[in-house]
């Protein structure tokens, strides 16, 4: 229970209207049963219903709330939209959920191409405001509906990262409430109120926010962020259609998608390299055949009708390269880039396909929600930002591993995942997505998830999710040898009571310890619960 004294203090901070311990309201914040990583063992075993919900309006309120939590040993979880499924919800009993949606401050600076957002602002809002002013932002794979801040500190990758660079490079300033209530300002916000670039006087604590990806809110609460926007071409992207067939009509003289059928996997990869070297394009990716079926189907039933006719042979011979061209400077740029692209792919035996000149996905939407349509259960098991070769071969290995777990995973005929080029070909990105029927037994899906981490370790694939979404004592010693020790030391320093989203960063370790069907897979060493430092908020659940 949340102590009565704390309840009074919370009410005095935000007012009665924005704080509740009503169990009905709290039930509305349940993580599952549907959602990202939901319906799996992790969600079923780890996720708890919060005991109280509080909705602050400003940073000073967040600081006051966190201070009360520290005073009364109340575990808490920051929450912006809740789309990140299981991991964005409390994992321990008696937790306070700090719902940040009322913090929806927004400023945009056209002259310096940046926006300052609070956690309640989502990507599609930011994108529209930017487009209206001749700029644009990269909408992360999480979709138009996710909090900009939450996405930027957890991943933030999109096909636009080819031209834009990775998300962490576009964070110009951050205001963060540390677990004990202290205020930390990073980047140029550390110097003054005017964010203009990403650097501050140092020391640089941006690692608290994220490495390859973030720590699910367990190192504090970001209350404000300044983000770089990019200049766009001058013509409007016109929305058209009625739901569910809505899209943005592209001005083809300035913005164009080009689909190219390549003869084989190697030529596709080579084309991606060459496009990067030529420094053309705004997004470059390989599209799984699976997604084409999703795009063509008007319903789940139609998808399965299309997909069930596919075969391993066809999947292995389907190599579709999709390139977005944007003529930022002039219409001549479009002509130039089209010619260069044609030269590259023709030389490699590619053939341009008829391509619909609308965008449903990558400017305002990122239809991530549609990933649940086919089976009801979905997660991106892994994503990787390394060299293109590395990214591509990881997808191949994952496809091999996946065969052993199909079913319960959806049959995908050996599909090697989705890969794309980042930062003009200087990096490769691979994302491996899995789908399952949540109405079936999902224990093997949990096992696949863990086996994918082991495969990464065996093959030395560096992946973004090796930390927050896998057991720390498995991945920590394997990558950097002692990074888990450093991480835990930092956690102890900044959050000595482990009240900020416990038991992260040991959440997955705890899951493996407690799930019977996972125990046979545990072949790594770690301190037992008794030896491992277990903090009060975690202990109540593990004892």
């Amino acid at each position: 229970m949340i102590p009565k004294e704390a309840i009074k203090e919370f009410e005095s901070i935000v007012g009665n209207e924005y704080f509740t311990v009503d169990p009905v309201i709290c039930e509305g914040y349940r993580g599952g049963p549907g959602g990202y990583e939901c319906g799996l063992g992790y969600e079923k075993m780890m996720v708890r219903i919060p005991k109280g919900i509080i909705l602050p309006r400003q940073t000073s309120e967040v600081r006051a709330i966190v201070s009360v939590c520290y005073q009364y040993d109340i575990p808490y979880v920051p929450y912006s939209t809740g789309f990140y499924g299981a991991k964005s919800h409390p994992h321990v009993e008696n937790a306070l959920l700090i719902d940040l949606k009322r913090m929806n401050g927004f400023e945009i600076d056209e002259r310096h191409l940046l926006a300052v957002v609070e956690p309640g602002i989502i990507y599609s809002q930011l994108q529209e405001e930017a487009l209206r002013r001749g700029m644009y932002v990269s909408v992360g794979g999480g979709g138009g509906q996710v909090s900009v801040i939450a996405n930027m500190i957890n991943d933030g990758t999109s096909p636009h990262s080819y031209r834009f660079g990775l998300a962490q490079r576009r964070i110009l300033g951050t205001e963060m409430v540390l677990p004990d209530g202290d205020l930390l300002r990073l980047g140029s916000l550390a110097i003054q109120e005017d964010p203009f670039w990403g650097e501050g006087p140092g020391p640089d604590l941006r690692g608290l926010l994220r490495g390859g990806t973030g720590w699910r809110g367990s190192f504090g609460i970001v209350t404000k962020m300044a983000i770089k926007l990019m200049p766009f071409q001058p013509e409007a992207l016109r929305p058209e259609g009625v739901s569910p067939q809505t899209s943005l009509r592209l001005p083809q003289n300035r913005v164009k998608w080009v689909n190219i059928r390549m003869p084989d996997h190697m030529s596709l990869k080579k084309a991606v390299y060459e496009i990067g070297k030529a420094e053309i394009g705004a997004a470059v990716m390989k599209v799984p055949l699976f997604w084409r079926a999703v795009a063509r189907a008007k319903s789940k039933e139609e998808f399965w009708e299309i997909w069930s006719k596919e075969s391993e042979e066809r999947i292995q011979s389907f190599h579709l390269l999709r390139v977005l061209l944007i003529a930022y400077g002039s219409e001549d740029q479009m002509k130039y880039e089209e010619r260069v692209l044609t030269d590259i792919v023709t030389e490699l035996g590619g053939q341009a396909q008829r391509t619909k000149q609308t965008d449903e996905s990558w400017f305002k939407n990122a239809d991530s929600a549609g990933m649940w349509l086919m089976c009801g259960g979905y997660i991106s098991v892994d994503y990787i930002s390394e060299t293109l070769d590395h990214a591509v071969s990881q997808g191949e290995r994952m496809a091999d591993l996946k065969r052993n777990f199909t079913p319960p995973l959806m049959p995908d005929y050996g599909e090697r995942g989705w890969f794309q080029s980042l930062e003009m070909g200087h990096q490769g990105y691979s994302e491996y997505l899995i789908y399952w029927d949540p109405e079936e037994n999902t224990e093997r899906v949990d096992q696949f998830y863990l086996e994918s981490a082991k495969e990464n370790i065996r093959r030395r694939f560096y992946t973004a999710l090796l930390g927050p979404n896998q057991p720390l004592y498995l991945t920590g010693p394997a990558y950097g040898r002692d990074y888990h020790q450093w991480l835990l030391a930092i956690k102890n320093e900044f959050d000595p009571k482990w009240l900020c989203h416990p038991p992260f960063p040991l959440a997955h370790d705890q899951f493996i310890d407690e799930a019977e069907w996972m125990k046979t897979l545990k072949d790594w060493k770690e301190p037992g619960l008794k030896e491992r430092k277990v903090f009060p908020s975690v202990k109540s659940q593990t004892d």
């Binding site: 309201i25 943005l248 009801g376």
Partner: protein, 442 residues
């Protein structure tokens, strides 16, 4: 796990568990379709989630709370009842969900209300009072039944046995009689003989919407049998909520498809649109004004025909036989717009949130009856949008919307004009100019 032989009967809450469990908190039910996202302002389409902030008031919260209630993990309470009724059932969540996921969120919410009533938890006391008035006086206001037809202009006489039957509804009969009067004058101007029921009763919208399914069914059976016996081939309404009841919810309650009703259900805007194309109506009198068009939920995203379905759910959730989903795609969006495009003199504009992304006025489906402050708030939100686009007033195609907008205009002493589209049509065909109300009254 296959779900053997089921249908979308809203008296069977167990038929909706799959849909309720499937919610992924993408909140597509709350946000405007991201393709149409207008920016920071006017970015949501769910009134209750917008007004009450907590996730529990969005469909994503209601699905979780509903499951907990069904599974007896949550006992009934005032909060629980409040959450399920302080909701306009406007269909925004349903079409939002079906943008990506095809879950039957709207039907789940209706089924939950039916369950609450059957469990003795619902409806709200104010709803019960209204229901009693319907039983006693056959209208939602408790006004004398004998005065129901008093609005009919003396010079206009319904024609027994005519192919078109006009159903005026409670709002058209008692509150916004200018809408009904305009409608019959438009019918007359187009040379369309029409009949009316000898003894018109409420359509039962409130009963159905709050979950009083047995009572709504009796109302549906009674009304339906009268129309079937009348020989009419078209049932015409000028109220969007009556329209939805007749076209969608009567078949739903009675396990029919809309096509099996035995007659066609038309809204005035559809009728006028057709009459224009056939040359039976022409607009000649300019109607000056800079006005915004508001999509009434029951005419737009909620109005697609009901198709009775039964079958089974197979692995991956596949329905067999495949179901033609009602996603709000084919709502009545174009007819009113094309009518307005043809009215001389008028400068009408789209609101930021339009068509399937429209923001409900807040009045319908029992909301205003039990939660007048919330309904007022929703109307105020919509009128803010009207002001933001620089319009001087608002047009809707439902007297219920008109009524609620007028309340908000009066409360805030705004200069905004509020019209039903029937008034504009009538004025422009040279009906009765003095009936141009541009109401700021009430």
């Amino acid at each position: 796990m296959a779900q053997k032989q089921f249908d979308f009967d809203i008296t069977r809450i167990d038929h909706f568990l799959y849909d309720m469990r499937g919610c992924i908190k993408c909140k597509g039910c709350m946000w405007v379709d991201h393709i149409y996202m207008p920016g920071i302002r006017f970015s949501t389409r769910c009134p209750s989630a917008t007004r009450y902030f907590f996730d529990s008031f969005g469909a994503y919260g209601k699905m979780r709370i509903g499951l907990a209630y069904i599974e007896k993990r949550l006992p009934p309470s005032d909060t629980l009842r409040h959450i399920f009724y302080v909701c306009t059932l406007c269909g925004a969540c349903d079409v939002g969900c079906k943008r990506n996921l095809d879950l039957e969120i709207g039907l789940s919410l209706e089924a939950l209300r039916v369950k609450l009533v059957r469990d003795g938890v619902g409806p709200m006391p104010a709803h019960q009072k209204k229901a009693d008035e319907i039983f006693l006086c056959h209208n939602v206001f408790g006004y004398p039944h004998k005065k129901r037809g008093a609005w009919i202009p003396q010079k206009i006489s319904p024609t027994k046995g005519a192919k078109t039957l006009y159903f005026a509804g409670c709002y058209g009969s008692y509150i916004h009689t200018e809408v009904s009067r305009a409608t019959v004058k438009i019918l007359e101007a187009s040379g369309t003989p029409f009949q009316m029921m000898d003894d018109e009763w409420c359509c039962g919208n409130l009963l159905f919407s709050v979950g009083m399914i047995e009572e709504a069914k009796r109302q549906a059976e009674r009304n339906l049998s009268i129309v079937r016996e009348s020989g009419a081939t078209t049932l015409l309404t000028s109220c969007a909520e009556c329209y939805r009841m007749w076209k969608v919810d009567y078949p739903k309650i009675l396990h029919l498809s809309t096509s099996e009703l035995g007659f066609e259900v038309k809204h005035l805007t559809e009728f006028v649109h057709e009459a224009i194309s056939e040359g039976r109506i022409k607009f000649s009198i300019p109607f000056e004004g800079k006005l915004a068009y508001h999509d009434s939920c029951s005419l737009s995203r909620l109005s697609e025909p009901w198709i009775s379905w039964s079958g089974e759910r197979q692995q991956w959730g596949i329905l067999q036989p495949p179901l033609s989903r009602r996603r709000g795609t084919c709502g009545v969006y174009q007819s009113p717009r094309e009518i307005l495009n043809l009215i001389p003199g008028i400068h009408w504009a789209e609101l930021h949130r339009k068509k399937e992304n429209g923001f409900c006025c807040g009045a319908g489906r029992g909301t205003e009856d039990a939660f007048p402050d919330f309904a007022m708030w929703a109307a105020e939100q919509r009128l803010e949008e009207v002001v933001a686009i620089g319009a001087e007033g608002i047009i809707s195609a439902c007297p219920r919307c008109k009524s609620n907008f007028l309340r908000a205009v009066k409360k805030n002493q705004q200069e905004l004009q509020v019209f039903d589209i029937s008034e504009i049509i009538l004025a422009s065909i040279g009906g009765v100019k003095k009936e141009r109300s541009g109401d700021r009254r009430h």
